[in-house]
């Protein structure tokens, strides 16, 4: 039990915070219902994929500043490919765009390994490159998305045996999110590859000495990040029906959620669940601020304060929980 708390305590606390926020939301707006929850799930979608993309590389001991630009590029690519094309064509577009994310992510990793330039600089340079590429694909917002794709995040998933009122609380967007993340993450987490990603983030030397192919693992981590970012880009196209070449606010949001989710920026620690819950928390805070009609200017302050306060709190308990006599 105590180990569970030590390993999962942060995620559990975050989850409790999320539940608390739902209660608060219900108090502010008694009419808050399943439909509103569906809206929340749809809003979470691109952020969740962005944060998943960031989480993988942060666990591997890196950072990816190109996440948002990658989402923009994959989004405009998908939107322009589907523009005027048949519904079936989208069946080809989706895997194409995902493969593109994978390859471009791997390119990030390869550049880091080959040039030996720090991650933060390589991905910063790639931020400009991908942004530029997005502008070449679509100079202005536009394009289209297949109807069936758009429908894939609207409404709920009928689950046999579940009463209607409960089924209403299972929005498609949420199911889609969890299916996509689980398909990639769960097998990965259990696999040797996944462990290698943790290993190079935790202690690169020890990982190397344990026989982990460090360079290859780093490339794979970035490739996965690219894949998640492509999912994020697709989800943007799906929810808005267009592609926009200017990156949205996903980079900073992803870094913030990663840290709130209990993933150490040094690497090696944490999982995907925490950051995803953190995304829900941040989006729900946003909802609550809107429901309360708080002065928009104050919301930026509140969001910043929450970020700083939670992280400071985390640092504070780490400091407290260190064994007596340990160095400060």
């Amino acid at each position: 039990m105590s180990r569970f708390l030590r390993n999962q305590g942060w995620v559990a606390g975050l989850f409790a915070l999320l539940v608390f926020l739902f209660v608060v939301t219900k108090l502010i707006q008694p009419g808050y219902g399943s439909g509103d929850f569906g809206s929340l799930a749809r809003a979470v979608l691109p952020y969740a994929f962005a944060v998943a993309a960031q989480t993988v590389v942060v666990i591997a001991g890196g950072i990816d500043l190109s996440v948002a630009a990658m989402m923009a590029l994959t989004s405009v690519t998908a939107a322009s490919m589907m523009n005027g094309a048949s519904e079936e064509y989208a069946l080809f577009v989706v895997p194409f765009v995902l493969a593109m994310g994978l390859v471009l992510g791997a390119l990030n990793g390869i550049l880091i390994v080959v040039t030996r330039v720090p991650d933060i600089v390589v991905t910063l340079a790639m931020l400009f490159v991908l942004q530029g590429a997005a502008l070449l694909v679509l100079e202005a917002p536009g394009g289209a998305a297949a109807e069936w794709l758009k429908a894939s995040v609207i409404g709920t998933v009928p689950i046999p045996g579940l009463p209607d009122w409960a089924g209403a609380w299972v929005p498609k967007a949420l199911v889609l999110l969890f299916v996509c993340l689980c398909i990639v993450w769960i097998p990965l987490r259990r696999s040797r590859l996944g462990l290698s990603i943790y290993a190079i983030g935790s202690n690169e030397l020890a990982a190397f000495r344990s026989g982990v192919p460090v360079a290859r693992t780093r490339i794979v981590a970035y490739a996965l990040s690219g894949l998640f970012a492509a999912l994020g880009g697709l989800s943007l196209t799906i929810s808005t029906g267009i592609g926009a070449p200017i990156p949205g606010p996903y980079l900073l949001a992803s870094v913030a959620a990663v840290v709130l989710g209990g993933v150490a920026l040094g690497g090696g620690k944490g999982g995907l669940l925490g950051p995803i819950i953190a995304v829900f928390v941040l989006r729900l805070v946003r909802t609550d601020l809107t429901l309360l009609a708080i002065d928009p200017n104050v919301t930026a302050i509140i969001e910043g304060l929450i970020m700083v306060a939670v992280v400071m709190f985390g640092a504070f308990i780490t400091m407290r929980s260190r064994p007596a006599g340990a160095t400060a």
């Binding site: 943790y198 190397f208 344990s210 026989g211 982990v212 090696g268 006599g325």
Partner: protein
Amino acid sequence: MTTNPSPQSPLLDATGVAKNYGAVAALRNASLSVLPGEVHALMGANGAGKSTLVKILTGAIKSEAGRILIRGQQLDVRSPADARRAGLLPVYQEPALIPDLDVLSNLRLTGTPVEPFRAWVRELGIPDLDIRETARHIPLAVLRVLDLARALAVEPDVLLLDEMTAALPANLAEKVLEVVRRQGDAGRSVIFISHRFVEISALCDRATVLRDGSTVGVVDIEPGIEERIVEMMLGTRIEKTRVTARAANDVVIAGGGRPRLSVRNLQLGTKLNDVSFDLANGEVAGVFALEGQGQEELFAALAGSIRPTGGSIDVDGAPVKFSHPSDAIQAGIAYVPGDRAEALAMQRSVRENIALPFSAALRKWGPIRMRREQVVVSGAIGRLQIDTRAQGEVQRLSGGNQQKVTIARWIAANARTILCFDPTRGIDVGTKQEIYKLLRELAGQGKSVLFYTSEMEEVQRVCDRVIVIFGGRVVDTFPVEEADEAALMRAAYGLPRGAKADVGILAEVKPGSNAEAAS
């Protein structure tokens, strides 16, 4: 070189291996040949290049020259993963478990079968391991054993153990030795690095001796071989200058004066129990202990690095509480840690490293008086005879010179008390002599030194008195005249002074080894 004609062809055969770290030649011309089924000792003084050779054999670092044959074939071992595939499995001097993964994940990472691992762990004396525990939270000694069990579980052809037993308590060390010997009996080869002759003679068939990066001999282990090995290890440096260094200085122990440092009932979690002793002005007090008996914690507590949980420390008769090393420094107490990497800013110059304490206090943040600093720093450099050819970055200095920088810093700062934790680690014999002399000189000037060493003979060369620690307690305090190696060893194992009991954990394993242990 002692040839040992053998009907078998070697399993592993390395010749002419060389490796340079910048200005430091870690290996010049090392060779090593291991037969199937043999437990082969790799011996050499500190810094002789043993660990470096193990790292090269297992692909952790690249050599610059040399030829490595495995089963007669020249395999390209570029990474530990390749070595693993070739049947070579190391347990390095530093733990290799991933700190943030639990044990099970660590096993999966290396493709180690779990059940054999568990069996080995039990065999190695840890019956109740929780395989779900994160490596970061496991004590160092247990981690070392797990590292070994992980290697054993895949049944490697050649097992390379680098100072496996150094950090282990006696009971675990004994189990490890048993297991290793059985490996040999089962026809697998083991390369075994240790500084402990008892272990070598109990375990090994042959030994390869390294000196200054070159193989200087291969010998069969037989009774009485120790002197040969020591001779080979140390080369011409063998002539013993016992106590002469000390005698050269007239020891002035300030009799009757207040002790410089007075420690009473010091307590630190489970690591230190009720430690009490005094350190006088003008005295070099030795601390002797086996690995991991609480000596590191004692030094850290005196240096203000960690806070004791009980007891008191008095400096010049006045009680002090250190909450940060700067408090200790303020009281004139400086700490030279054993690990250079802990004490030096590796990318900075020698000068900056030596002058670092001058800038530490808030009121010293302003412009530096470069001329004055230059004088003080070069004084210290001169005094320790630091080779400053590569002084732009400390990391380019040789290990011994790095170690000298850590000491020079406090000579420059004129600290009144120096806590030296194994300051001669990885230092060559010439430099060692200089350091011994320096410490004596400091004492001659009325300063006091607390000196921990892992090498027994240093105690007699440098110290006035020796404090022996075992299991976090002071078990004995000798005047140096009585501190011969046998007496020290006995005390270090917690045996009462004067007891005639056999020393060494393997006393009953191999009759006849006690004689060597005491020699």
